[in-house]
Amino acid sequence: MLPDSNFPKEFLDAFGRPRRVVTCECKRSDTPSMTQALLMISGGLLNRKVAYSNGRIAKLVKANTPADQVVDELFLCSLSRMPTTEEKQAALAEIATASSPQESYEDFLWTLLNTREFQFNH
């Protein structure tokens, strides 16, 4: 059983769950697909979790965490490393221009989860 009963079926299907039309030994698909690319960009699973009202970003915003600490934390929780100086500058510049910190952090985390680094290393 999956721990999250709301885990969207389409996400698992796109990421290689066998279709189970018939019983067979054919291997599950392990190659990237167009549907995977679409789901990472537009999909409800990722977008909903990024914007979850009791999620990491919501808590950071509620605690008035300074932007540079938020950037560090989002890098650590997604790519398991600290940002480089350039990355941090780019992120902070983007966040500074945004009207809503919550939205800009959501956009930032979405971006990190859509990087090749996340998708191929993690």
Partner: protein, 443 residues
């Protein structure tokens, strides 16, 4: 220190993120396209399982009972040519298509025959466990490679509903060495009747309709931050995923695929007209995709080798298969023609092989690849011809044998694709087809 760089937002507005891989309307992925081919696109309807030639297009009313089967033949729009009684709509339209009754490839196993029919290449030992993926690129992938998408955000190659065959035990409609960028885009499940609602697959719609400006911001940030490179991308996965992502962003930026695939835009009357069943609704999807401009659409008119009638062939054919096929194909041809699309849209009805002329002990027919029938029309082809004959028991070609690759060569020709063009694979040149010439009577 003041920031002297132009703001990324301004840059995005000026350049238009939406331009994606399309520069001035040119698709930079397409290698070459012949200037003005007669067919702009093709729809291949695939009767997976193996459709009996004797109970459809190649009736043998004078053969002994254990061969001819229980169906009667009926007159058609073509003088002297008779079709199965369970295909009355197509019988009235034989002047609008061509029947090729002497097609052969001589490969009687499902796996190898499916691979052959979808690629033009033999795959010795093809099976559902160790050789269940392409050994050569499929026709649709070659078309996608050579022609590219007809417009931004609309993939060049669609599979309806998916790229699997034999109940998804093999997937031979894929791109193989051409790379994942030329894999088919799968429409996903299609309603099984004319009443069920259709919902656009979630990934084609941006979550909660995010405003365009915010989605643009995200894409800009991604461009800035996505600098990770893997030195050895031997599998090509990262390159493939990059191309997928570029296409995916295009598909969200230009929702043409979302609009094309949305079967709910059709009236109930139209959905009924195609038949309130899975074949009809899939054929309707093919018409929508052709209308949108998809260069190649492969439609599986079967889920789990429905046409593989080893047992109870005649009941299956007259209840579950032929009436549905008759209405779906006839309506597709009618609608393409009414919309002025048939001249530029090649339509083929193919099966991986035919079935044994002699009826077996289970009132069924088994695999038979020595002769079977193919339907071809549209896309600038001449029409109304019944080409080639099989012998008295539909066992082997008699007059004008047609190798199956000639069918593919004809499709490629009409699409303006030279089949002697080669692509390098592991240091060796692989032609689009190694054998097969266009059928002169049809062009």
């Amino acid at each position: 220190m003041p920031n002297t760089q132009p703001s990324r937002r301004a840059f995005l507005q000026a350049s238009g993120v939406a331009a994606g891989a399309f520069v001035g309307g040119q698709n930079v992925f397409a290698e070459s396209t012949n200037a003005n081919p007669p067919a702009k696109r093709a729809i291949v309807l695939f009767l997976q399982g193996g459709c009996s030639q004797l109970d459809t297009w190649d009736m043998k009313p004078d053969a002994p009972a254990e061969y001819r089967g229980e169906f009667d033949s009926i007159a058609t729009a073509t003088p002297g040519y008779r079709l199965c009684e369970h295909m009355p709509m197509l019988a009235a339209r034989t002047n609008q298509f061509n029947v090729l009754r002497s097609v052969h490839h001589g490969t009687p196993s499902h796996e190898a025959a499916i691979h052959w029919v979808l690629t033009g290449y033999d795959y010795p030992g093809a099976n559902t466990t160790t050789k269940n993926r392409n050994d050569k690129p499929s026709v649709g992938s070659f078309v996608a490679k050579v022609k590219g998408p007809s417009r931004p955000g609309l993939p060049a190659y669609f599979c309806v509903p998916d790229k699997g065959q034999l109940g998804d035990r093999v997937r031979y409609a894929d791109s193989h060495f051409l790379g994942m960028a030329y894999s088919p885009f799968e429409s996903g499940p299609i309603p099984v009747d004319a009443e069920s609602p259709f919902r656009v697959p979630q990934p084609l719609v941006m979550f909660r309709d995010m405003p365009v400006t915010r989605f643009g911001d995200r894409q800009g940030l991604l461009q800035q931050l996505d600098n990770f490179k893997r030195d050895a991308d031997a599998s090509g996965m990262m390159t493939g995923m990059d191309q997928f992502r570029r296409t995916a962003l295009e598909m969200i930026n230009h929702p043409v695929t979302q609009a094309a695939i949305d079967l709910s835009k059709e009236t109930r009357g139209t959905r009924q007209r195609y038949g309130s069943n899975k074949f009809g609704q899939r054929a309707l999807m093919a018409r929508r995709l052709a209308e949108a401009g998809v260069p190649f659409t492969l439609v599986n008119l079967a889920d789990n080798q429905d046409w593989d009638t080893h047992v109870d062939n005649f009941n299956a054919m007259k209840t579950r298969l032929l009436p549905l096929l008759d209405r779906a194909v006839a309506t597709l041809l009618d609608e393409l023609s009414e919309r002025g699309l048939l001249d530029s849209t090649l339509v083929a009805v193919v099966s991986e092989f035919g079935r044994t002329p002699k009826i077996n002990n289970n009132a069924g027919r088994d695999h038979w690849s020595d002769v079977f029938s193919v339907i071809l029309t549209g896309g600038g082809l001449k029409t109304g011809q019944v080409l080639g004959t099989s012998n008295a028991r539909a066992e082997i070609p008699q007059d004008r044998p047609i190798h199956y690759n000639d069918v593919l060569a004809t499709i490629y020709r009409q699409l303006g694709i030279a089949t002697d063009r080669v692509f390098m694979h592991e240091g060796r040149p692989v032609p689009i087809l190694y054998q097969g010439t266009p059928i002169p009577e049809l062009i």
